[in-house]
Amino acid sequence: MTPARATVTLTVNGVARTLDVEPRETLLDVLRERLDLTGAKRACDRGECGACAVLVDGRPINACHVLALQVRGREVVTIEALAGRPEFQPILAAFIHHDAGQCGFCTPGFALAAHALLQRHPAASDALIRWELVGHICRCNAYDGLAAAVAAARDARKPS
């Protein structure tokens, strides 16, 4: 029994990649095991916790819940690349100032989701910020720091 294989071409962090994968491999498997991009974490592997969030064509998704085959031709951005963008810097600064992470395992997912939500809702209310992050679990329960950090990043990004 030899599993079938397939070729997938996609863009990861601005670099075009052609990969020979098994059809059952998820985007998360490919990022972590083939491309050594380990900022997206595997904590549940079934779309329940948000620790593996990445951007696909600018939208946040759980990379564990998508097969590599499903993102053919798409543009994937992981936290490693997002971290270098100018618009991410207020988020990073706010996360540190408000101590929005303890063990840090869920933190890249939250930070990526924070970026995506502020792109979509630059003036999100404090309540909306919490609701937009509801798909992410933090077992340290650093939620008060997380909510404060995203609100601070929103305020810092507002055009004055």
Partner: protein, 759 residues
């Protein structure tokens, strides 16, 4: 006790230094165990038993070994049979819970390893299983381990005074049975290990809270090789909460890698983490409190039965701590705790934040409210009258001076080093607006509101052997080498602050090297809220010793009698000449290394942290739903080394336990013994929208024993949470809750049974 003189003016301790390496964590650069790769590395997967109790007759891996990519299969026949823990072997031809390890596969990819697991044929001979601790204690019950199901053959008994005499003096006796259910720790990072052999030497990267104190000795036993040939490293931990080891994972990964002849990484799935990790044990606590006419406690007696699951791991400590509330919290001359840890064929229990303390405190603090209500006393007033004070318990000390630390005495006559419980009660009450509290169940209507209070006490750190090593290189580089793990609570940040304070440097100047047996001195397990108190003092002493040597060398270099260290400069007595620390370090001629080791604690005082928590809830009497409206956590953890990190730790602790109080529970199918909800979705951890922001108050005075006055912080804030909510529900809806979690079903049942449903 009086505070030591050196805490008068602090510049780094007490300031909100940013969490160490948080930028790396946020941006995904931190490498946790499962993020590591080694050349030629294979992926390991574990085959787990579907039966709660069975003999393994035969394991046939021949078909699995023929599959593409498969390099090795490890079965019980391959595993050494010497115990690696008091009741645990690496693999046995017997399984004691559904989900237990049976065999492992190493393959080129995880998917190939998964395929191979399905191709392994195992013949089981199912045995009768026992899933309930009371049934396990009955005569003729199936034995989980030889020698009976009561762990250790007898219950743990801890007492002071004479409870029978105390109850004889009591005007009234109150009693109740309180239950807490099993739940999963679910740190975000699952357990993982990566083993690599070079000849007969092993390097193991692993999720660990004690590379020195538990992993290395356990590996040496399990592999039958000297500890010196084993290096254990934990690069970063994705949450611990007192959990995350106590398993076979390290030994099995090492055995599999040896058999495969290649490095192997094993990473648990979420389901495996719940089944094969170590969960919080269910307990049943029968509590009796005898009081005088005015409510003064004269006797407290608690009997606890804990479902230890199939292996005890750290359940002995959990059992001991379940009595902590009954033994310490209220001033009472007569107290007795009897704890039974019982084996069953459930997934193994272990340690989780607070050990047994929140479970026992739940019983004590709910029954205290029932006493106050029966006597017509406000529950806050009742606590203000009877909480234990700095003097400790009444009576005479019998424990010898050198035995105070290991013995954890409960007798009278041993004072606390500090105790701000009263301030926590008073200031917390003011913050929540306790004056608004109405009589229990007074509010009419469908959705009713109420206020509740509960206290907690927790011993953290005393009795731990702690060690720290400080390196000052000739380049001026300052590095703190510590054997313990920062599991995510922020110990690297806090310990660097303590070193920085002693060396008058900014915290950023201190590098931290941790959790690597090859590069660090021995370190204790990161457990029991130990680190800041015990290792913190070792860090302070090591840093002060280094400062002393720098001062001496500086005096020589400056040609003066003495020099002082100030803001990173060494200054002559007259203040005229000075050298930078780097210049003096360069003048030392070699790297300066100072070490300090101590057995943390005091021979005259018990060092405990305290807390008083206040909750405001709304109870929907139609559906049993509890909504938390406000939560105030007033903590006495002595001086707070880092207020920013500490506030997050307390807030996180409370939110974590609010979820456990209201929802988290592991369900086992009573016929098959199979765990039904090993996932985030079905185990229902707290999410960001569930509770309001926690209001955190720090009210401790600097403690005379702890480093710069610090006491334990990680676990104390979880201790009162269950009872604070239960008491607020009682105030709102007039019903007493005796079983955690307070699910809508249980609240509805209580409303119905106690006649408090909406008419």
């Amino acid at each position: 006790m009086t505070a030591p003189a050196d805490v008068s003016a602090l510049s780094v301790v007490g300031t909100p230094v940013a969490r160490r390496e948080l930028a790396e964590k946020v941006t995904g650069r931190t490498r946790y165990t499962a993020d590591l790769h080694r050349p030629g590395m294979l992926h390991g997967r574990v085959l787990r038993s579907p039966h709660p109790h069975a003999r393994i007759v035969r394991v046939d891996a021949s078909a699995a070994l023929r599959l593409p990519g498969v390099h090795a299969v490890l079965t019980p026949e391959d595993a050494p049979q010497q115990p690696i823990d008091r009741d645990l072997r690496a693999l046995e031809p017997l399984v004691r819970f559904a989900g237990e390890e049976v065999a492992l596969v190493a393959a080129e990819s995880e998917a190939q390893a998964e395929d191979a697991l399905r191709a392994i044929e195992v013949v089981y001979e199912p045995l009768p299983a026992v899933l309930d601790p009371e049934a396990a204690l009955a005569p003729g019950a199936p034995e989980v381990h030889p020698g009976g199901n009561l762990v250790g053959g007898k219950p743990l008994v801890v007492q002071r005074g004479d409870v029978a005499a105390g109850f004889a003096q009591a005007a009234r006796i109150f009693e109740g049975t309180f239950r807490t259910q099993a739940h999963a720790p679910v740190a975000m990072e699952t357990r993982a290990a990566l083993a690599e052999w070079e000849g007969d030497r092993l390097t193991l990267w692993k999720t660990s809270r004690a590379v020195h104190a538990s992993d290395r000795p356990l590996l040496a036993r399990g592999l039958g090789i000297p500890a010196e040939r084993i290096r254990v490293i934990c690069t970063a931990m994705g949450g611990g909460f007192g959990n995350k080891d106590e398993t076979r994972l390290g030994v099995l990964t090492a055995l599999l890698a040896r058999k495969a002849g290649r490095p192997v990484r094993v990473e648990y799935s979420r389901r495996e983490e719940v089944l094969g990790g170590r969960n919080r044990q269910a307990t049943v606590n029968r509590l009796r409190i005898g009081v005088r006419v005015d409510g003064t406690p004269v006797a407290i007696e608690q009997r606890s039965v804990m479902d230890a699951g199939a292996y005890i791991s750290s359940g002995i400590n959990v059992n001991r701590r379940t009595g902590q509330g009954a033994l310490y919290l209220y001033t009472c001359p007569n107290a007795r705790y009897e704890g039974h840890a019982v084996y069953t064929n459930r997934p193994a229990g272990g340690s989780f934040r607070g050990l047994g303390a929140p479970l026992g405190h739940f019983a004590v603090e709910v029954l205290a409210d029932e006493i106050a209500a029966a006597l017509g006393i406000d529950p806050l007033d009742y606590r203000l009258r009877h909480h234990v004070t700095a003097a400790g318990q009444p009576g005479t000390r019998v424990t010898a001076p050198d035995a105070l630390l290991p013995d954890e005495p409960v007798e009278g006559g041993v004072p606390f080093s500090s105790n701000a419980l009263r301030a926590c009660l008073l200031v917390g009450a003011e913050r929540i607006g306790w004056h608004r509290r109405r009589p229990d169940g007074a509010e009419p209507g469908e959705r009713v509101r109420g206020l509740g209070v509960a206290m907690g006490t927790y011993k953290g750190g005393a009795g731990r052997e702690a060690e720290a090593e400080l390196h000052i290189a000739e380049s001026g580089r300052v590095a703190l080498h510590l054997g313990l793990t920062d599991v995510g609570q922020g110990s690297a940040t806090v310990l660097a602050q303590i070193a920085a304070e002693a060396l008058t440097l900014p915290a950023e100047r201190i590098e931290t090297v941790m959790a690597d047996t090859a590069r660090t001195p021995p370190g204790h397990v990161t457990a029991g809220s130990t680190t800041t108190f015990s290792t913190g003092e070792a860090v302070r002493r090591a840093a002060l010793a280094a400062a002393e040597q720098l001062r001496r060398r500086a005096a020589e270099m400056l040609g003066v009698a003495a020099a002082r260290l100030e803001a990173g400069r060494l200054i002559s007595e007259d203040g005229r000449r000075s050298l930078a620390l780097e210049e003096v370090a360069a003048g030392l001629g070699a790297e300066l290394v100072t070490r300090w080791r101590w057995n943390a604690g005091s021979s005259t005082h018990i060092v405990n942290s305290f807390a008083a928590h206040f909750a405001e809830v709304e109870v929907d009497r139609r559906n049993g739903h509890i909504r938390v409206l406000r939560y105030v956590a007033a903590q006495d953890s002595g001086r707070i080394v880092n207020p920013r990190l500490a506030a997050g730790q307390v807030s996180g602790a409370v939110l974590q336990f609010l979820g456990i109080a209201l929802r988290e529970e592991l369900f086992l199918d009573p016929r098959s013994g199979v765990t039904l909800n090993p996932s985030f979705l079905e185990h229902k951890s707290t999410a960001i929208v569930d509770f309001p922001a926690v209001e955190v108050l720090f009210l401790g005075e600097p403690d005379p024993v702890g480093p710069y006055g610090a006491k334990a912080l990680g676990e104390p804030p979880v201790v009162p949470v269950f009872a604070a909510i239960a008491n607020a529900v009682a105030n709102a809806a007039g019903v007493r809750l005796h079983e955690v979690p307070f699910t809508p079903q249980r609240v509805l049942a209580a409303l119905k049974a106690q006649g408090r449903l909406v008419p």
